[in-house]
């Protein structure tokens, strides 16, 4: 019974859209103006009832602006809004301006799922830029697959996932974790690793992959400790004592969100000097250092694909544009940059496909290149991840990173690496 109702609605919608499209086509011929002349008729670009009109297309933004993850996700929202405003200035997507609807996931995974459903079913967004933690992505993935939406997900994550309905603009484990471990083993000769993380899927899976790489692929290396703390935990003195006890060559830290601040402050207070004790992290970007304080983390190494201090023409335009929109004191981390890529990649894909339909976008995505990316050049792979370079940076007291290592070529994304599951 409900499917019958949906079909009738669908037919009504199509008929309405056809009439609107036909009249708009006729009216458009009379009107001058670049936008209308460039815009393909709605009936052609939208055959599945998405929120597309002749002048506008709606996308959703779904991030936490409240809760323990707000420190990390605010940057992504700012980057997405910057990208959308830049795209609109250039004429929009398929001749239509982007209108966005923003929802707050509130650092609560069920809320993410609920808001995702609202954006797809009620608002019929043509694309959603959203999520940060793997927990939030896992919560919304069934929603996107059931209602056939398209999610642009900006965070580096543990891999082991691939979906027709998601484009992953951040690095996955082999690009980030394995390259970083190889680098620290080769340049520092590190043999013992102490793994620390927040207690949810990303740090646990990442440490599992890290452990397999350390013990299986790096000669003579071992893991001397592995600890997890709930998100929002603020007392790290016991584990810091344990670290002092075991004296590892490398502290491998995947502490997430607000806990970062407590961890690095307490690490410094306990007298651990990061210029002597090697600490490699994959979860601290310039955004987190803003809250931690550069003096507490200077000397630590981070493995990312983007740093604000990158020296290339794209980044030299991107950083001032971001600061102009959001304030001179804002900082730009890896995830913020990956979030900036989302709307641009979606625009390029929609223009390649000539349509907003999710199935056509999913089919057209592999091979889409973005030459204006602040990190350099990126390309979407068949597995919906990005070809990108891997870099290692060293934190400075002013809160920025010095880029000290960069892979020569783009690293191929491999979300299901053999031997790591």
């Amino acid at each position: 019974m409900s499917s019958k109702k949906r079909t009738t609605d669908f037919l009504n919608l199509t008929r309405r859209q056809l009439l609107a499209g036909a009249s708009a086509f006729g009216a458009g011929a009379l009107l001058s103006g670049r936008a209308f002349a460039d815009a393909p008729p709605t009936a052609k670009v939208n055959t599945t009832g998405l929120a597309v009109t002749d002048t506008e297309v709606t996308v959703g933004i779904l991030h936490s602006v409240t809760g323990t993850m707000a420190i990390s996700e605010t940057g992504s929202v700012e980057a997405e809004k910057l990208a959308i405003s830049q795209i609109n200035e250039e004429g929009g997507v398929l001749g239509r301006k982007i209108k966005f609807i923003q929802e707050d996931g509130a650092s609560d995974w069920p809320t993410f799922a609920e808001k995702a459903k609202k954006l797809l079913v009620n608002d019929k967004c043509a694309a959603v830029m959203g999520c940060w933690t793997s927990a939030s992505r896992k919560a919304v993935l069934p929603v996107f697959e059931q209602y056939n939406g398209m999610l642009y997900y900006p965070t580096f994550y543990e891999g082991l996932e691939q979906s027709k309905n998601v484009i992953y603009t951040g690095q996955e484990a082999t690009q980030q974790i394995i390259a970083g471990l190889d680098w620290v083993n080769k340049t520092k000769g590190s043999k013992s690793f102490y793994l620390i993380g927040s207690d949810y899927i990303w740090p646990r899976t990442s440490n599992k992959i890290a452990r397999k790489h350390i013990e299986g692929h790096l000669k003579g290396c071992k893991v001397v400790g592995e600890e997890y703390f709930p998100l929002g935990h603020t007392q790290f003195n016991s584990v810091i004592n344990k670290i002092k006890l075991t004296r590892p060559d490398v502290i491998y830290a995947i502490v997430v969100g607000g806990s970062n601040v407590a961890f690095y402050k307490q690490l410094k207070a306990a007298g651990i000097d990061l210029s002597k004790q090697t600490l490699l992290t994959i979860s601290v970007t310039e955004d987190e250092i803003d809250g931690i304080g550069g003096e507490n983390i200077a000397g630590a190494f981070a493995c990312m694909k983007y740093f604000q201090s990158l020296d290339n023409p794209n980044n030299k335009k991107f950083v001032p544009a971001f600061k102009k929109m959001w304030g001179e004191k804002t900082v730009i981390g890896d995830v913020t940059q990956a979030a900036y890529l989302g709307p641009w990649l979606w625009k390029l894909t929609a223009e390649k496909a000539g349509s907003f339909d999710i199935d056509k976008i999913a089919a057209a995505s592999p091979g889409v290149e973005f030459k204006g990316a602040p990190e350099g050049y990126v390309r979407i792979h068949e597995n919906h991840h990005l070809w990108s370079k891997t870099r290692v940076g060293r934190a400075r007291t002013d809160g920025q990173y010095d880029v000290i290592y960069e892979t020569a070529d783009l690293v191929e994304p491999n979300p299901f690496p053999k031997g790591y599951q």
Binding site: P230, Q235, G258, A269
Partner: protein, 308 residues
């Protein structure tokens, strides 16, 4: 796990672990003292207690900027001024909250829970609107960073020592106020029998207001101290509120000594267990212990014997 270390090493590890436990204990006492006064003595369930702490933290942030801009020579001592300011501002905010909101709800404890929860949401949003949704970094003066080397192997964190000293001083002051001053006598009288106290001429309204203000002021100082060890952002108060209520209820709501005893139990249990197992497991086992003890003794560890 302990096989590779000499006796001397083991002793220093135990010493450092004990010290970590003491720091956690001081943190809990600071958090819970303010709430023990409000909840224990007045029976007001103040869900906004965490936000008063963060108010103190933000005041510290503002003070540090003020000193950096106008009084750079005195920067080393700014923290003491910041704590005083945090106390005054949080206390004033507490008095304002009591006068506007709480005093209408003394007879309805469950409604104060809802009202103070609403207050906490309002405070969180005002922090977000004034200071932004992101963390703010509070810079410490140089002498407060790093650690002291007591011996070669034992290192003691300076801010840990600071927090412990602060807790000691504040607890001492509160104990003096409660048990040796005229005001403390009046507070205890109001708690024991409100109607009779009113009848003998004690201004119960004024006592309530000042007590609430004091509790919030202590929360402000605690928040100020926590800028050293944790993050300052609009929702950070939520990280502390659950533990704070846990400590107060477990100790027996009406007894300050109970609060201290329960802070000691919970902090030592958690920090010891964290050392031998994982962070999450330590929390689970600690909470199981608390649940078990509360089932045997629902009033908490220490109970005031009152004739009713």
């Amino acid at each position: 796990m302990f096989g590779d270390y000499s006796f001397g090493d083991l002793m220093s590890i135990l010493a450092m672990q004990g010290f970590a436990g003491l720091i956690l204990f001081s943190v809990f006492v600071l958090m819970a003292l303010g709430l023990a006064i409000i909840f224990g003595q007045m029976g007001v369930i103040n869900m906004a207690h965490g936000e008063f702490m963060i108010l103190g933290a933000y005041m510290t942030f503002l003070t540090s900027h003020l000193f950096q801009a106008h009084l750079p020579h005195f920067y080393a001592g700014y923290f003491f001024v910041a704590m005083a300011i945090a106390f005054v501002v949080a206390g004033a905010a507490g008095i304002a909250a009591e006068w506007l909101l709480i005093r209408h709800l003394y007879a309805r404890p469950l409604d104060t829970l809802l009202a103070t929860w609403g207050l906490s949401l309002i405070m969180q949003q005002s922090f977000r609107s004034i200071f932004g949704a992101r963390e703010v970094g509070v810079e410490l003066p140089q002498w407060m960073m790093g650690s002291l080397n007591v011996t070669d192997a034992i290192q003691v964190q300076i801010n840990g020592l600071f927090v412990m000293a602060l807790t000691f001083i504040i607890t001492g002051i509160v104990a003096l106020l409660m048990y040796r001053s005229r005001w403390g006598l009046q507070v205890r009288a109001v708690v024991a029998n409100r109607i009779m106290s009113g009848a003998v001429g004690i201004d119960t309204r004024r006592i309530d207001r000042l007590t609430f203000g004091l509790g919030c002021g202590i929360a402000g100082v605690a928040g100020s101290a926590f800028t050293m060890i944790g993050s300052t952002n609009p929702t950070a108060g939520q990280l502390y509120i659950v533990d704070t209520f846990l400590v107060v209820v477990f100790g027996g709501a009406q007894s300050l000594l109970g609060t201290i005893a329960s802070a000691l139990t919970i902090s030592q249990s958690r920090s010891t267990l964290e050392f031998f197992s994982t962070g999450s497991m330590a929390q689970v086992i600690t909470l199981l212990i608390v649940i078990g003890l509360l089932m045997l003794r629902p009033q908490g560890l220490f109970v005031l014997k009152v004739r009713r």
